[in-house]
Subunit: 205 residues, 2 copies
DNA sequence: ATCCGATGTGGACGCCGACAACATCACGGT
DNA sequence: ACCGTGATGTTGTCGGCGTCCACATCGGAT
């Protein structure tokens, strides 16, 4: 029981703060990321975080990035599981799994999902036409595969990315925390399939 | 200049509080609905609201209902403007305007839109299969028109409501306050048309 | 060895939501 | 006519929060 009396300087505080904040966001959502609670859990006094972040919003932005990364990760992992020979069927299946992974993440990690889409301002929003990062990049890659194998005509490729994204995002919001949050799981699954079918027909139908 | 010295009892406080809170939500979103600020603007002391609402969440729920109502209103007003003779074209145009009105409301009233979808719990969520109220009811009505005139097959009617809703809702979130919030208005309009086309093809294509 | 900048602490301020005790007033039963 | 009682509004208070400030500690460059 060596009671080393907590050195004055933590030495590795910043990443610990972010990790702690991520766990807090995971369990209680963005509003649950409370500076004083993060400091408490990190075994550090309130205010310590101010040596590493301008304010609460700065920490939350970092947590948002982490959540975004995790969403991208589960999407990539999921589409990698598609085992299909025919190129067209393969690309279609990968698109479908992309959507499913997105919705499942929203439902299984509601706190992180909400935090991912809670950024204060487009500070790092690239002024260019498109900012291709994270989940949006994954989706675009899959859509390009559909074009490459001839399943999706180039003119329909225009706006298909935003269309797919909007569909799965809206479905996640409505069913996860929105007005349809009380739809039982079985019905929810059927609805998701119907929604994915709708996009399918709209793209390649 | 009769300075009537503010009678001890307001006499009509509750509706005034709700109106004030709605305006606050309109300009600053759900987090801006601060009990003490509402009381201040109503010319009443803090705590007065507690005689009419259990807590902040109760007031916010009422504001959410109001926002929901306003969304329904603009949707109804919009689809009423469709002037089209051919029944099929008319129904299709009404569906499209429904979506446009939804997105335009989200973009022009971001505070109210966010507040509408910020309900604490499904307290009044009907356990039945569907809760047909508000904007969702309007959408279902329009979709039923499509079926009635033969433009939409009954089997595709299944889940079409949630699909349309998810699409316009997701688009609103992404473009209104989400990652695509910095897309310039012209490009945004083109994207909306592409997204509406996608749904169109998915339904009747 | 010394100084200095980076990092962590303790205290304060103003804001908030919520609770409790008190003040005012309209109305109804006697 | 009177009183009292319940609804409504006020003041005071508490704990919690984000943020600013002054101070403490420590490691490394000079």
């Amino acid at each position: 029981m060596s009671n080393r009396p907590q050195p004055y300087h933590h030495g590795n505080l910043r990443p610990v703060l972010v990790d702690t904040a991520v766990e807090l966001a995971r369990s209680t959502g963005p509003d649950g990321v409370v500076l004083r609670e993060v400091a408490r859990r990190a075994g550090v006094s309130h205010n310590a975080a101010y040596r590493h972040f301008d304010d609460r919003a700065a920490l939350l932005a970092e947590v948002s990035d982490r959540a975004y990364d995790e969403l991208e990760r589960v999407m990539r992992e999921r589409i990698a599981t598609v085992d299909e020979a025919d190129p067209v069927e393969r690309a279609l299946a990968r698109l479908r799994e992309t959507g499913r992974a997105y919705v499942e993440f929203a439902l299984s990690e509601p706190g992180l999902f909400a935090t991912a889409f809670t950024s204060s301002a487009g500070a790092d929003a690239h002024t260019g036409v498109e900012e291709l990062t994270g989940p949006y990049l994954v989706l675009n890659t899959v859509l390009d595969e559909l074009v490459a194998c001839g399943a999706l005509s180039p003119e329909r490729r225009q706006g298909a990315d935003v269309g797919c994204w909007a569909m799965v995002h809206g479905f996640s919001e409505l069913v996860g925390t929105g007005p349809l949050r009380d739809v039982p799981p079985e019905a929810r699954e059927l609805l998701l399939e119907a929604v994915l079918d709708l996009v399918h027909r709209g793209l390649v139908g």
